[in-house]
């Protein structure tokens, strides 16, 4: 027990920990997408908010039967926006009295190459209503999201399409290979659609990689510092020539692995709490398969989060074991650093592919007719898990049969 506690204590070098905390804070401020919630990938906060509002009314999915209520919700937003429009003298003077006219004017102005003074005034007012004036801007973004997300879907023969609208899509489907056509048609004929929007997924997909990078750097720093410092201190000759001192390597391997797992679990717990605090909890029951994305596996957002957390923890644990392997053979800090950099890059690259593969392999296949591997996450994750554990076991087993120093 004393040996274990000593090895664990060595990982918690105060100076190193303070350095890591500062580094992690700076890294998170620089790279984590969560801090930009709820407008990641959308540029505005209202897309996510309107989906959250809809989930409170309709639940995690919107079904074909709920379309009248949905239109009521949509029209409510239109009415509110029109009330805001009444406050504008420019709209009044140019005969723009309702939301439909507002949208038409916006479309026309966008098509024009040259604007008159009147056009410019209207254009400026539309821009003000779209981007600046509250609450008109908020309503505008929400309406835009619903139109792009659901109404276009209806018009184009999407999730809520009728047989008639499906026919309009048939020509497009005929051009595709039968497997893809079947998949898309099935999607268009679905009885319901997920109300999950892009931000909750995109934030987690991007941040999972950064969390693995943070964990890997933290774990490699702590473990390599511990192992290389021990080596340079000359602790090993006494330890390894003592009765049970050789267990020190096994203990260090286990401590490194568990430290990696601990770092992964702690990061996921902290990140998860922050994610829920931002309001992602409302999306937990939404299916991941939605208007934007096709997944090769049917998951809810909750399951997706758990899988991503599991991936982060597995990769972080692997980082612990890999850092142990590097630390066992690195004779000084420079060589440890030199070997660690490509190992961390490879590990994070693998996590990126695995995380992206979980969600996007099918997407790549649909859009580019490109090779798809639904099993990509497993193809990457399993060898890393099995490989690192096996390598550590082999090293430890081999210790008794070779020069240990």
């Amino acid at each position: 027990m004393k040996i274990i506690s000593n090895e664990v204590k060595k990982l918690f070098n105060p100076i190193l920990l303070i350095t890591l905390v500062v580094f992690i804070y700076i890294y998170c401020r620089g790279f984590l997408q969560l801090q930009y919630w709820p407008q990641v990938n959308t540029g505005n906060p209202w897309d996510t908010e309107v989906h959250a509002e809809m989930i409170k009314i309709f639940g995690p999915t919107l079904s074909r039967d709920e379309m009248p209520e949905f239109m009521e919700f949509y029209n409510g937003l239109v009415t509110d926006f029109e009330a805001e429009m009444q406050k504008s003298e420019i709209f009044k003077n140019n005969g723009i009295e309702n939301y439909k006219q507002y949208c038409e004017a916006k479309g026309e102005l966008r098509m024009k190459d040259e604007l008159t003074d009147e056009d410019s005034a209207v254009d400026a007012e539309i821009n003000r209503y779209t981007f600046e004036l509250m609450p008109a801007s908020e309503l505008s973004f929400k309406l835009n999201e619903l139109e792009n997300r659901l109404l276009i879907d209806i018009e184009n023969g999407g999730t809520f399409a009728t047989d008639e609208t499906i026919k309009n899509r048939q020509r497009y489907l005929d051009d595709l290979n039968p497997e893809m056509a079947e998949m898309i048609e099935k999607k268009f004929r679905s009885d319901e659609t997920s109300l999950l929007t892009i931000t909750p997924q995109k934030v987690v997909e991007d941040d999972s990689l950064h969390i693995v990078i943070i964990c890997s750097l933290a774990v490699f720093s702590a473990v390599l510092f511990m192992l290389i410092t021990d080596r340079l201190r000359g602790i090993y000759p006494i330890a390894l020539s003592s009765k049970i001192g050789r267990k020190i390597f096994r203990i260090q391997a286990a401590v490194s692995g568990f430290f990696g797992l601990f770092a992964g679990i702690a990061s996921c717990a902290i990140y998860g709490a922050a994610l829920m605090n931002k309001g992602a909890g409302v999306f937990l029951d939404c299916p991941m398969d939605n208007y934007y994305y096709d997944m090769w596996i049917k998951l809810s957002y909750r399951q997706y989060l758990l899988i991503m957390a599991a991936a982060v923890i597995v990769f972080s644990g692997a980082a612990g074991l890999l850092s142990y392997i590097v630390g066992r053979f690195a004779t000084n800090y420079i060589s440890g650093l030199a070997v660690s950099i490509p190992v961390i890059v490879a590990l994070c690259g693998a996590e990126f592919l695995a995380a992206a593969g979980l969600f996007t392999a099918q997407r790549v296949w649909i859009h580019s007719h490109y090779w798809s591997s639904a099993a990509l996450p497993f193809v990457i994750t399993l060898p890393i898990c099995i490989g690192t554990v096996t390598a550590v076991c082999l090293i430890l087993k081999h210790d008794g049969r070779r020069d240990i120093l």
Binding site: I3, G234, P237, S242, K243, I244, G245, I248, L405
Partner: protein, 282 residues
């Protein structure tokens, strides 16, 4: 009984020790050789840190590799460079090493305090080792090597950094310990072992050169060591003619101790271990 049976060790293609055979029973063995001769390699093999390329080391007839932890439980080892945790006190560090040595917890604290007292560190037992001098650290190293009451005590350059008083104290400790155990003391400081070693093992050119008692070794040089006084102006010529073992400046001359393979016209002197060392490794 520790037996080294025709042991050879290569680092890659480079030999470090070749065909060394020894039998080590109870007693103090001085392992004497200049730096780089293979002492530390032999010691690392005796402590199982290195495995021989060929040959084997046996303890009571069983290869030490097979005995593994059981054999390591019999060893007390002070490496050439003693590693320690700077933030630990000697008490903390020895408690940790006691855990590595598998020493029972019952009475452990007393045992550690006794051994700290034995090496003269009682007053510093709760001071962090980062404040210790080289000699104090070496005494902690000696304490850890002897605290488990080992059957085989292996000490690699143990007196480095110790002052004369500490060296005498150290010699007395290990001399007393060698009565009922094997003590191997590797050094190139001849005076460390001259008065206390039961046998002296000399390694030359990576091979075992001598395994004898100090009197046996000395006997080989009887009639070849002389003392004389050489006028200052003639010393350079004298040095070219004879192998000077030591020289001390006096008023107008040098008091010289010399080795000559053939009879020389000077006063014969009693050979000592330092003479043997210098002649062997000249």
């Amino acid at each position: 009984m520790l037996t080294v049976d025709n042991v050879t060790k290569y680092y890659g293609k480079k030999p470090a020790v070749e065909n060394i055979s020894l039998s080590l029973g109870n007693g103090l063995y001085g392992l004497l050789a200049p730096n780089g001769a293979g002492k530390t390699t032999l010691i690392k093999m005796l402590t199982t840190l290195l495995t021989p390329t060929s040959g084997e080391i046996l303890y009571c007839g069983t290869p030490i590799e097979k005995l593994g932890a059981e054999y390591r439980g019999l060893i007390g080892y002070l490496p050439q460079q003693f590693g320690y945790y700077r933030g630990n006190t000697p008490m903390q560090y020895l408690e940790y090493l006691a855990a590595l040595k598998g020493m029972p917890e019952k009475g452990l604290r007393e045992k550690i305090e006794n051994v700290i007292d034995e090496v003269g560190l009682s007053e510093a037992k709760n001071i962090k080792m980062k404040k210790f001098s080289g000699g104090m650290l070496q005494r902690v190293g000696i304490a850890q090597a002897i605290m488990s009451d080992p059957k085989i005590l292996i000490l690699d350059e143990p007196t480095a950094g110790l002052d004369p008083k500490e060296r005498v104290r150290f010699r007395n400790i290990i001399s007393a310990m060698s009565k009922d155990r094997t003590v191997i003391l590797s050094t190139h400081i001849v005076s460390d072992i001259e008065s206390i070693a039961n046998r002296v093992i000399m390694i030359k050119d990576r091979r075992l050169f001598r395994d004898s008692t100090v009197p046996e070794l000395s006997a080989e040089l009887v009639g070849h060591v002389y003392e004389t006084s050489v006028p200052d102006g003639e010393y350079e010529t004298f040095e070219r003619e004879y192998f000077v073992l030591s020289a001390r400046q006096e008023q107008n001359s040098m008091a010289v101790r010399l080795y000559s393979p053939s009879p020389a016209p000077y006063a014969p002197a009693e050979p000592n271990l330092e003479d043997i060392f210098l002649v062997t490794y000249r």
